[in-house]
């Protein structure tokens, strides 16, 4: 590849020059250093982008990472680190923990703790602590980039057709797009944009959201509704059709059953029609109950839209340089090696079509991509067998296929599903209902009974599932599982003891010790 020299093939709009009306198509700004011979430019400083850029720098490449956060409709902004660090995994898990601690405090009395008065939760204290931790992570990332000599720019990266046409063959380095996604607003609903918030805003609120309506049934919706209920806020989840689309539906049902039993209201088969702000400041939501066909109305302090995420490709100008997108989703079409339809341009993470929207896959894919681009490996990212956990009040961890997916791929007669309803020991003294604590192991029928999918609802589902995910990766069979001696007393050991199949019709409730 010939040396590009100083010609700019990627034009950058300085974020703080917004007062100056520069037309994107005709203006370019140099890097302050004056040179532009980077081996790798990563657009997006999230989980994937940072992992890729740091790995590349470690391998001796000259790397720049561009990160820019377009403020949310409500004006929320955050630092480097992407969705996971700022408005996703991290603050979510911390607030989920806050909610769990509330439940633990209630259980504590049964265990002998003398708690003098009624327990209440202060949103501001929690929010400040969570936000401070996120800020410390932002800082940590900046320091790491500095240490690894990755050039960081807080700017938007925009492709400029003019240069791409003329200079593309002279491109020296590679461009990696890892811009991720942002929550969608249902723009067709009057009042949705003006009065609603999304997951981009909820973690950065200084004041409590109060009585909240969460619209959606994705894991984002359920996790948010879960912790809001847990900290004592009146919360309603409005579901259009099914919860946790894409996940095992039996498990999804157990998750929502638990949430309903523990105080979250669910409005099933409901579609919001409009959101109005009343003179008192509260929001009035009108929705259609699809079962009766009638309209219903209620007031809330906050409306949280969790109706899906859209990829951040609009402002990139990708169509100008010929990067092909999936017309429906807007995500970038990528090959197994994360390459796009344009040579030297790669894309991975949430932005890639068909990729799991998870941090660990983005990080691993980013590192492998960096190694491949530096010529150190040919290894491709393996997106199969990725374990995940939904951090709802009753956590749900899984790896492999759902029961429906296994049935569809292998046929109902070719699979054997073993299951068990168990009770965590800790729930006994606390007199807590454990009806939704459940395990399901979907196996191939006959032979060594290879495990196709593993599902677990219960406390610490993430911790439980992680270890079994390794077994799954190694091609575990039911025999392996049965040969594993459980650790006692734990919830996880119930997985090693599973022996009742659905086909047998026998009672799957675990009894005794």
């Amino acid at each position: 590849m010939s040396n590009l020299g100083h010609t700019c093939w990627l034009c950058l709009l300085w974020s703080h020059y917004q007062h100056c009306p520069i037309e994107i198509e005709w203006h370019g700004i140099w890097f302050v250093t004056g040179t532009f011979d980077y081996d790798l430019v990563v657009i997006g400083g999230g989980s994937g982008g940072l992992a890729c850029s740091k790995e590349a720098a470690q391998l001796g490449q000259k790397v720049a990472v561009l990160d820019y956060v377009e403020p949310s409709v409500k004006g929320t902004k955050w630092g480097i680190g992407g969705t996971c660090v700022n408005v996703g995994c991290i603050p979510k898990k911390l607030m989920h923990q806050a909610a769990l601690l509330g439940t633990a405090l209630k259980d504590a009395q049964k265990y002998g703790w003398q708690i003098p008065g009624p327990i209440s939760h202060d949103w501001s204290t929690m929010a400040e602590a969570v936000q401070n931790h996120v800020r410390s992570l932002n800082w940590g990332h900046r320091v790491q980039l500095q240490d690894k000599e990755v050039k960081y720019l807080n700017v938007k990266g925009i492709f400029f057709l003019f240069f791409m046409n003329c200079c593309f063959t002279q491109l020296k380095g590679n461009i990696v797009i890892a811009t991720g996604g942002r929550p969608k607003y249902p723009t067709h609903i009057p009042g949705a944009v003006e009065h609603g918030i999304t997951s981009d805003d909820i973690f950065w609120l200084k004041e409590s959201p109060g009585k909240t309506l969460v619209v959606g049934a994705s894991y984002v919706a359920l996790e948010c509704a879960g912790f809001l209920t847990g900290i004592g806020l009146e919360t309603t989840v409005m579901v259009r059709s099914i919860p946790l689309r894409g996940f095992d539906q039996q498990m999804a049902g157990l998750v929502t059953d638990y949430m309903e039993a523990y105080g979250t209201k669910f409005s099933w088969r409901s579609v919001p029609k409009s959101v109005d702000k009343l003179s008192s400041g509260v929001l009035q939501v009108t929705w259609t109950d699809e079962q009766t066909g009638k309209d219903q109305r209620d007031t809330f302090d906050s409306v949280l839209w969790a109706v899906g995420r859209a990829p951040e490709t609009k402002t990139l100008g990708l169509e100008k340089v010929g990067v092909k997108l999936n017309k429906e989703s807007g995500k970038i079409l990528v090959a197994a090696d994360e390459s796009t339809s344009v040579p030297n341009i790669y894309a991975f993470g949430d932005i890639g079509e068909g990729r799991p929207e998870l941090t660990p896959t983005a990080i691993k894919a980013g590192k492998l991509l960096a190694r491949r681009l530096a010529g150190r490996t040919n290894e491709l990212m393996n997106y199969d067998n990725v374990a995940t956990t939904v951090f709802t009040p009753l956590e749900y961890g899984c790896v492999g296929l759902s029961e429906e997916e296994a049935e569809s791929r292998h046929g109902k007669d070719s699979i054997e599903v073993y299951h068990a309803f168990y009770k965590p020991l800790e729930f006994t003294v606390a007199e807590r209902d454990a009806s939704q604590c459940y395990i399901k192991v979907v196996c191939k029928r006959g032979g060594d009974q290879r495990i196709l999918g593993l599902h677990f609802t219960g406390p610490n589902a993430g911790e439980v599932t992680q270890g079994f995910a390794m077994g799954f990766q190694c091609g575990a069979t039911l025999t392996h599982l049965k040969e594993t001696v459980g650790i006692h007393p734990t919830c996880a050991e119930e997985l090693t003891k599973v022996n009742v199949s659905k086909r047998s019709g026998l009672d799957a409730t675990v009894t005794g010790c």
């Binding site: 800020r135 500095q146 240490d147």
Partner: protein, 200 residues
């Protein structure tokens, strides 16, 4: 045993080694890159007023973007005669740094020695060190100033001065870094640190 927040969980040993060196004394090895940065900054900021009208004037460069020399020279720091130091009439001994210009004016160009306290609101030890620093500075009765820099508000500045963990305190005189330390010090050690800066 104090702990300090830096967002990094690895390389703690490496960092502690560096701190041991900077404890009470500053490793000569690090001074040179920082001093170089300070020199560049001084020259750079003197011509920053020229650069502020950059966006508007760039429109004339769109056609000349292929030629590398013109934009480069526009952006590289100019060498001009240093302007006269602004007369410091501020009364505050301890202040929060507002921006880069404020830092240049009140810290780099300060006639008095300055302690720069790099801190963050998420940093617990910073909250302990902060009041101790104020006390030590107050004891000097105006002979030394303290500039407080919130690293979340002024991340670039903090990165430029090589701050990785907080609290980091840099002692500066005449625009030069004289000494620095990371973490908490007790009152006695702080008094001695500040006295050394003042030159007693």
């Amino acid at each position: 045993m104090w702990a300090f927040y830096n967002g990094r969980t690895q390389a703690r040993g490496k960092r502690e080694g560096r701190e041991a060196k900077s404890h009470g004394g500053y490793s000569k090895k690090k001074l040179n890159p920082m001093a170089h940065r300070l020199l560049v900054r001084r020259i750079w900021t003197l011509s920053v007023k020229d650069l502020r009208c950059l966006p508007a004037s760039l429109s004339s460069f769109s056609t000349s973007l292929r030629s590398s020399t013109t934009p480069l020279s526009l952006l590289s720091p100019k060498r001009t005669l240093p302007r006269s130091l602004p007369h410091t009439s501020r009364r505050e001994v301890s202040f929060n740094v507002q921006d880069h210009e404020d830092f240049t004016e009140r810290v780099i160009n300060s006639e008095l020695p300055v302690l720069i306290d790099f801190h963050a609101q998420w940093c617990g030890p910073c909250k302990i060190l902060g009041p101790r620093l104020e006390k030590a500075v107050a004891k000097q009765k105006g002979k030394v100033h303290m500039a407080k820099v919130d690293i979340d508000d002024h991340t670039d500045l903090a990165i430029e001065y090589g701050v990785s963990a907080v609290p980091t305190v840099i002692a500066m005189r005449g625009g030069d870094v004289i000494d620095q330390f990371v973490g908490i010090k007790d009152d006695e050690a702080l008094d001695s640190f500040v006295s050394k800066l003042v030159g007693q």
